[in-house]
């Protein structure tokens, strides 16, 4: 099978998957709880207000028509109108998504680099104190709750030492760099604005470390297990027997092969991270999709919740697809 036909088939298979996802979200949020309009308001709302509300949001139409409007909208990048402010949800989503994306990218980078480094170190020192300490660290990191670690770091570095801001993405008194990608660090580099770059980095450090640390545990363990397995394989020993240097054997032979399953794990974790940034974002008042979702849930803004969930869903499936294709590309046995 060629890579092209592999990619095509994966893309085609994604269509029914996304359709199923969209339908499920619609069913769960619109039909199962009953009338979302009634749920949005307190009891005893004025029926006139309620009727007008329904018309504006299209909730008065038959359920099937609502469903098709919803699908049609999504394929055009329209995620509906918020119950709260009657603004298009897509504006909110696209406005806030870069914040979440930026935090997620740096966190996953931090987690993967730390995870790979410590995992390789542990596997090379199998069954020694170094190995045991690294394993202990990895267990601790994923047992610790995000908000707890976040608060401890905030206490030490922001309140006690005063080195870093406690939250938000950029100080309110300054204007962020002109939006190109929406990622402040990239935008400030593009604009050649050193001050914005430094500022945005200082704001990123704490949430990145918090989220990255929580995530790195799983990468440490996964890297370690895969490396241990690979290091025992014949081709690694054979490489040593040919007199290849320790570094070449570890990185070009062992890690390169151990990396493929890790790549899948990175994909899964990154997807989970995008969606699961809620707690970190709340802890650090990060103006991303997580805080948005929390705010809308507390206001029972069903259409906004629906839009956000769908957005995440599509994003995650695209990411999975991307990782699978990358995997196929990297592995010569699949590549053919």
């Amino acid at each position: 099978m060629t890579l092209r036909s592999y990619v095509t088939s994966r893309v085609l298979l994604m269509i029914p998957m996304v359709m199923l996802l969209l339908t499920l979200v619609f069913v769960i949020l619109r039909i199962i709880p009953g009338d979302p309009a009634l749920l949005h308001f307190e009891k005893g709302v004025d029926p006139v207000v309620l009727a007008e509300f329904r018309t504006r949001l299209g909730l008065d139409k038959p359920i099937l028509e609502q469903y098709f409007d919803y699908l049609w909208g999504i394929f055009h990048g329209d995620f509906g109108i918020s119950m709260q402010d009657y603004q298009p949800i897509s504006t909110h989503l696209f406005g806030r998504f870069p914040a979440t994306l930026e935090l997620s990218i740096y966190s996953i980078l931090f987690a993967v680099l730390l995870g790979l480094a410590l995992g390789v170190k542990a596997s090379k020192n199998y069954d020694t104190t170094t190995d045991h300490s690294i394993r202990l660290f990895s267990i601790v990191t994923y047992a610790i709750p995000v908000f707890f670690l976040g608060m401890v770091l905030q206490f030490i570095f922001s309140i006690w030492l005063g080195w870093l801001p406690t939250g938000r993405r950029f100080p309110g008194r300054y204007t962020p760099p002109p939006t190109i990608t929406g990622l402040y660090t990239i935008d400030s580099i593009l604009a050649g604005d050193l001050f914005s770059l430094v500022t945005s980095v200082t704001y990123l450090i704490l949430p990145t470390i918090t989220l990255g640390t929580i995530l790195c545990g799983i990468f440490i363990r996964f890297t370690r297990t895969n490396m241990l397995e690979t290091l025992r394989m014949d081709f690694v020993i054979a490489a040593q027997a040919r007199g290849l240097s320790n570094g070449t054997v570890t990185y070009r032979y062992a890690l390169r092969n151990a990396f493929l399953p890790i790549l899948t794990m990175i994909g899964i974790q990154f997807a989970a991270l995008l969606a699961g940034a809620i707690l970190t974002e709340t802890t650090f008042s990060w103006p991303g999709l997580g805080t948005y979702l929390v705010a809308r849930i507390s206001r029972r803004d069903y259409t906004a919740i629906q839009g956000t969930v769908v957005f995440f869903g599509v994003l995650v499936s695209m990411l999975t697809l991307f990782v699978d294709i990358l995997y196929a590309y990297l592995d010569p046995r699949i590549r053919l």
Binding site: D234, I237, G243, Y253, D331
Partner: protein, 336 residues
């Protein structure tokens, strides 16, 4: 004749949860230049561990506990961490970097399973380039690749296949690639551990024939580790038979097959099916070898030996010269 290899009282131990297992027990043997030594014995007898010990690549959790391994080097070998002088060198005294330099250049090793001994992520050509450049970083990539092509061509593999990946080759072809990698730097000593065991008889015969030709061409001294006595009869000059980590008999191939001295060697030969002798009554050795973690006193073979005497249960028989001019470790032949 000089000795290409001399092993003195080599002991290799595995530290397991249940205790220490002595996989190689005070082995002493020497190997003249340009000869092929067959190392025979059944699974768990320590023959592979002995082979790996000569590379100083004993698998975890084993380590060389005692003894010396001398190899003969005919020219000074430069090394970043101390040049290695020509003459007889005790490789147990070398540091890791010195040992790395020797691997592949002076001693080559071929593994049992060609399907797993090449890096699936690298092309065949990269295997050659990395190996050649690990020993001489000054060599250009193209030149290294050309040398690889030349070697492959000599083994009957089209040179343009250097861009192919291991999975695109059959088992026999992969083993030829392994042999090519083993020989590209013209080592003096080649250790092959069951090189044809996982291959079919016709491919096995083809490869053994090629190895015999290459041995002549490159003046190789060889150690052939295998449980297949038929293969040894056809390829070895001398045969060493191991049982439970100890050397029990060492003699020329003719003497081992015609007049085996040790009762274990005798029994082993009688158990081998011979396609040319349909009427040969196959015998077997009753019982099983003792547990290496909990070794028995005296001769390890005594519980299964039809000729066991009292002394066999208490004293380890020394390795003495046998009537046929070889060496044997058995109390039956004491006193000479």
């Amino acid at each position: 004749m000089t000795n290409a290899l001399r092993i003195q009282d080599l002991t290799v131990e595995y530290k397991t949860r249940r205790g220490v297992a002595r996989a190689v027990d005070r082995i002493r043997l020497s190997l003249e230049e340009n000869r092929t030594l067959g190392l025979a014995g059944e699974s768990g007898c320590g023959k592979s561990t002995l082979g790996r010990a000569i590379m100083r690549l004993v698998p975890y959790p084993g380590q060389i506990a005692d003894g010396n391994i001398y190899i003969n080097i005919d020219e000074d070998i430069p090394c970043k961490e101390g040049d290695i002088p020509k003459g007889e060198v005790d490789i147990t005294e070398l540091n890791e970097e010195q040992m790395r330099v020797l691997r592949g250049k002076e001693i080559a090793y071929i593994f049992q399973d060609p399907m797993t001994s090449l890096n699936p992520m690298l092309t065949i050509g990269s295997h050659f380039v990395q190996m050649i450049r690990a020993h001489d970083p000054e060599i250009e990539k193209e030149e290294a690749l050309d040398r690889g092509k030349e070697v492959l061509e000599g083994l009957g593999i089209l040179p343009e296949r250097v861009t192919d990946y291991p999975h695109q080759f059959s088992g026999g072809m992969r083993q030829r690639v392994m042999i090519g990698l083993g020989l590209v730097l013209r080592p003096r000593l080649l250790i092959s551990d069951e090189p044809t065991t996982s291959l079919d008889v016709i491919v096995e015969a083809q490869i053994l024939e090629q190895m015999a030709e290459l041995k002549k061409k490159f003046n190789l001294t060889m150690i052939l580790i295998t449980h297949n006595l038929g293969v040894l009869a056809q390829t070895a000059d001398d045969i060493a038979i191991m049982y439970c980590g100890r050397l029990v008999e060492l003699a020329s191939v003719e003497n081992v097959f015609e007049a085996p001295q040790h009762p274990y060697a005798q029994a082993l030969l009688l158990s081998v099916p011979d396609v040319t002798k349909p009427d040969k009554k196959l015998v077997w050795i009753p019982g099983a070898p003792p547990d290496l973690v909990d070794p028995i006193p005296g001769c390890m073979f005594n519980p299964r030996c039809p000729m066991a005497m009292d002394i066999c249960k208490t004293q380890v028989p020394p390795l003495i010269e046998s009537e046929t001019g070889g060496l044997v470790a058995c109390h039956l032949y004491g006193g000479k």
